[in-house]
């Protein structure tokens, strides 16, 4: 039996990799995929907690989180498409209209 702390550590590692990706990449789609990666890492820790408690509620939460992630992906990709139509680029450093 693998201890739950290993799952939590793995989840933290994946979350951090996703966060570094959000910070360093400039392609909006890759940034978006990194956000999905972070969501996924958090889901992993929820499932680990749920399994070790023997309580199914955590998995229900992951189920809802999957649904919200699907909705978020759809809206986000639509926004990226709209930005691409306006700017002809998905480079996030070129989307600087609101920049201070």
């Amino acid at each position: 039996m693998v201890g739950i702390d290993w799952y939590l550590a793995l989840s933290a590692v994946i979350f951090t990799i996703g966060m570094i990706g959000v910070l360093i990449r400039r392609n909006a789609i890759v940034v978006f995929m990194c956000v999905e990666l972070m969501l996924n890492a958090v889901n992993l820790s929820l499932v680990a907690f749920s399994a070790y408690h023997g309580d199914v509620t955590g998995q229900i939460l992951v189920f809802f989180s999957l649904a919200v992630a699907a909705a978020e992906a759809v809206i986000g990709l639509a926004i990226i498409l709209a930005i691409f139509r306006n700017n002809l680029s998905v480079d996030i450093t070129k989307v600087n209209l609101l920049r201070w």
Binding site: L37, T57, V68, A69, A73, I79
Partner: protein
């Protein structure tokens, strides 16, 4: 056996995540994310959450990633310029920030290590479709219906945002 599966899947997940943020090509990045999602689905199986592993493969690795690939194809992207050319200050700052966040998470994990749950007897029955459905359609029925409304709203919103309007500039 479980230890080996966990180690294998964990290494696969971390390697594909690192590859995903480092690869130059957007399509390769998406495919590596699929690999990552699949290995996390494998970890769900190790944790005996069969239903979620199935949903992960179907919804995440199937539907959402196909959507991503379609958008990448539609946009016909060039390769990202100047990310790999020179190491800039901001990448170093991003890396340090990542290390700080990771340390913070590990610190808070270390703080609760004594409180982590023991493995309980019910664990073997927790992940089946039956167990999940039992709770989902009774205790969480309202949230379930709200999810349906959310998804409908997301579809309508996505169509509204992404639709191509043929506006003639002269008129309005």
């Amino acid at each position: 056996m479980e230890l080996y599966s966990f180690t294998f899947l964990a290494v696969l997940a971390i390697a594909s995540a690192v590859g995903m943020i480092l690869t130059r090509n957007t399509v390769n990045s998406a495919l590596l994310l699929v690999l990552n999602l699949l290995s996390v689905a494998g970890l769900y199986l190790v944790l005996q959450a069969q239903f979620l592993a199935l949903i992960q493969v179907l919804v995440y690795a199937g539907a959402i990633m196909v959507l991503f690939l379609f958008v990448i194809m539609l946009l016909n992207l060039d390769e990202e310029e100047s990310f790999f050319d020179k190491i800039r200050v901001k990448y170093i700052v991003a890396f340090l920030l990542g290390v700080v966040i990771f340390g913070q998470i590990l610190y808070s994990l270390g703080g609760i290590t004594d409180l982590l749950p023991e493995i309980s007897e019910e664990m073997e029955f927790a992940g089946t479709v039956e167990a999940l459905g039992d709770v989902l359609y009774t205790d969480f029925l309202f949230a379930f219906e709200m999810t349906a409304i959310l998804l409908t709203a997301a579809v309508v919103g996505a169509i509204m945002i992404a639709q191509y309007k043929k506006t003639d500039k002269g008129d309005s």
